[in-house]
């Protein structure tokens, strides 16, 4: 699955210069960033989160995630967008809630991340 598929499923918008062909392997709906860091199977994941600050991109970077999607129409600040572009991290925003977006992506066959 690619970011373009996610974008279509969530009726989302790509923020900044993210590449729609970026591969997404799994998804994680989480607002506790330490929990995102908790397991090591976040590689190429899309992170669905209610947060919008800079550390969403930092954490995604640390775990080698592919994309961050901001929920309920939220948009991050320019500094976040700049950092994401620098790190090659794709940012999206959708009007859906984390719950609805998770349902949509599960339906498409995307799996969750394993936890310990």
């Amino acid at each position: 699955m690619t970011v373009a598929d996610v974008k279509a499923a969530l009726d989302a918008e790509i923020i900044g210069a993210g590449d729609p062909e970026t591969v997404v392997l799994r998804a994680c709906a989480c607002d506790l960033l330490s929990d995102v860091l908790r397991c090591v199977t976040r590689e190429k994941a899309i992170l669905l989160t209610n947060l919008t600050h800079l550390q969403t991109v930092r954490v995604a970077e640390m775990v080698d995630a592919a994309a961050v999607c901001y929920m309920r129409g939220k948009r991050p600040g320019d500094d976040v967008i700049r950092l994401a572009e620098e790190k090659g991290m794709v940012l999206l925003t959708t009007k859906m809630t984390s719950y609805e977006a998770s349902g949509q992506l599960c339906r498409l066959g995307l799996s969750g991340c394993e936890h310990d």
Partner: protein, 317 residues
């Protein structure tokens, strides 16, 4: 803290293939031995350099360093020419010698910089510092990374050429407390460096996660901190020292869910009492000590398991 602490940026890592001319700074600032010591400081400062070759009539006669100047000031700053305070008959390196040689010379003499001479003409053609050597090696790695399309260097590869008995790369970062914007940039920098060194992605991720959690702890709770990563052929060892309130009861702090985080921290998605646990999960060894009112000293060791490290090229993808 260990002895490395007061020795930031010192790197002992070598390449047989690279020559000193690849690493040296060609903009050579020189000074005459007749220059008054009082004029030395502006010169050092203007060029942001630690030492200057002293040249008389096109010949290298000595080297004068920041340390020499500090000693001169300590001794009362009595007016005199550079000739009286410089190191005479200085050690110099030749531009065509290997970086391995430079590293060994740095170690042998404890110098931080050497003048570099052209072997044929004997002229000073550059100055090389320990930092120049590190920069050169890292830059070179990046070039190879692109040119050869090799995605992951074997971690051992960079160390294979090392002739010294013991070699390690040292990376030093400063962390500023309460600066939430900059938070994570040290871990990010370290992660990029480890990737460039060709450490296996799984190992890099574990180091990144552990250091990020430690860095966030420092940013949230402490005034300042330092992160030092030491990379050798067998392991990556990260030390984080912060200057802050410390942890009164480490055993309690290690329990999942334990947190003293204020609300602003929780609202940002941190401080749920998982940080130290995450570090423990990622590390092969973790050691934490703390003095209340002073700070925390955290050591993390992650082994580089050679068997698991792949040599992956573009066409494997």
């Amino acid at each position: 803290m260990n002895a490395n602490h007061g020795d930031p940026g010192v790197v002992q890592l070598l390449g047989q293939e690279l020559r000193i001319r690849d690493a040296m700074n060609r903009r050579v600032v020189t000074i005459s031995s007749r220059t008054p010591m009082s004029e030395l400081r502006p010169t050092l400062r203007a060029h942001r350099i630690a030492g200057i070759p002293v040249m008389d009539d096109g010949k290298l006669v000595g080297v004068i360093s920041v340390e020499d100047m500090v000693n001169w000031i300590t001794d009362g700053a009595v007016a005199c020419p550079v000739a009286e305070r410089m190191t005479r008959s200085p050690r110099a390196l030749y531009a065509d010698e290997t970086l391995v040689h430079a590293i060994n010379e740095f170690r042998k003499f404890g110098f931080f910089h050497f003048p570099v001479l052209d072997r044929d003409s004997g002229e000073v053609v550059g100055v090389v510092t320990r930092e120049d050597v590190i920069q050169c090696l890292l830059k070179r790695l990046e070039i190879d990374y692109h040119e050869e399309g090799i995605r992951h260097y074997r971690a051992s590869h960079i160390f294979e050429d090392i002739v010294a008995d013991k070699s390690a790369l040292l990376f030093h970062y400063y962390i500023i407390g309460q600066d939430f914007e900059k938070a994570g940039s040290s871990s990010s920098g370290l992660k990029k460096t480890l990737q460039r060194l060709g450490i296996h992605p799984d190992i890099v991720r574990r180091v990144a996660i552990a250091t990020y959690e430690a860095e966030m702890n420092t940013v949230i709770y402490a005034r300042t901190g330092e992160l030092i990563a030491k990379v050798d052929t067998n392991q990556i060892r990260v030390e984080i020292e912060d200057f802050g309130p410390g942890i009164p009861d480490i055993a309690a702090a290690l329990k999942p869910g334990f947190s003293t985080a204020p609300d602003w921290v929780r609202n940002l998605g941190f401080g749920a009492g998982m940080g130290l646990g995450n570090i423990q999960n990622c590390a092969d060894e973790m050691n934490i000590t703390s003095t209340v009112g002073k700070g925390i000293h955290l050591e993390i060791t992650i082994a580089i398991n050679k068997e698991r490290v792949k040599y992956e090229t573009k066409k494997d993808r």
